[in-house]
Amino acid sequence: MRVSSSSSSSKDIARPPPSSLLKTLFVMSEIEHTLRLPPHLLNRPLNAAIKGELESLFLDKVIDKLGLCVSVYDILSIDGGFIFPGDGASTYTARFRLAMFRPYVGEVISARLKESTKDGLRLSLGFFDDIYVPIPLMPNPYHSEPDPEHKNGIRWVWEYMGENYPIDWMDEIRFRVHSVNYPPIPVEQGNDSEKKDSEEKDSRQKDLKPFVPMVIVGSLDADGLGPIAWWV
């Protein structure tokens, strides 16, 4: 479904909006991909087999600049079916659309609190966990106190008009997307043989921090953002 687009601002009435203005939480992307269909799937109807292969290739994976693939929306066309010499499987070129999770900068999203540490907050959507609210983007003014319920956790408290509003582990927190980053895949570096054993272990510990392909930085610093219970 395409929403019929009205002008984005009163200045641009004559010009149709560029597609970059079409934005919301989930977007469709059209992709063409050549894939090999393993022979053990040959007894399945072609559409279902191709769809299954596409799902295992793209589902829950991040495509650079396009976002996180949530679902295969539909398959537009399937071409090919050629068998290359020496290969038992046939190769198809499929055009299809994927539903991508790609929030735009400035969008307001509801999420839940996942972690609250000295660096800020980490929010989660269930299917996507890498949403960070760093300290500069917390509601101003604030202070932090050690959390009595979680060890090593910090609880963040907003001060407004003399009242203290803590950010607790409660229901929904609304944040505004500040930026969406796709860090490049790290290249593995050789071990430094001059380090001592304990230092080597430390550096390996740091290297074990998992690589995150898509990071959203959120802001809570505006009216209406933060836990919904503050505003309702």
């Binding site: 977007v27 679902s71 269930g126």
Partner: protein, 146 residues
């Protein structure tokens, strides 16, 4: 892999939910039989907790029609559909320059939002009714889905 169109259309939360429901996400309590992957189930769980759970395509069409006179950007309108703000303070972060662009019409706009878009069951008055409401609404949803 070739990207033909990185932006081939927008999807409201409601449409993604409909897509997953059409594959059988809502009906399968075991979550094994339906043609829906575990990661898609996580998306379904998230969307179920939002107001999109009670929306339909017709409601969204109607809302878009009603909002044309407010001269909102596409993204802002869809954000309102996804979030369903019920007070002015909730609308403020969604619509840029809210005061200067909407001014007095904000109450009218809020009325529109609250009437056209159905609330999430937990936003209803008493807490005792929410359990019964949720059961009724899920029954309605299941009979409504073909």
């Amino acid at each position: 892999m070739k990207i033909l169109q990185s932006n081939a259309g927008v999807l409201t939360n409601c449409e993604v939910l409909e897509l997953l429901k059409s594959r059988g996400a809502g009906k399968d309590p075991t979550r094994v039989i339906a043609a829906v992957a575990p990661s898609e189930f996580k998306v379904y769980d998230y969307l179920e907790q939002t107001v999109a759970f009670k929306q339909t395509i017709e409601i969204i069409h109607k809302f878009v029609e009603d909002c044309k006179k407010y001269d909102l950007a596409n993204g802002e309108m869809l954000n309102v559909v996804n979030i369903r703000p019920s007070s002015a303070v909730e609308i403020d972060p969604i619509i840029q320059d809210c005061d200067s662009r909407m001014g007095d019409r904000i109450d009218e706009f809020l009325e529109n939002v609250v009437q056209v878009l159905p609330p999430y069951p937990s936003q209803l008055e008493s807490n005792e009714d929410t359990a019964e409401d949720k059961e009724e609404t899920t029954d309605d949803q299941q009979t409504g889905v073909k």
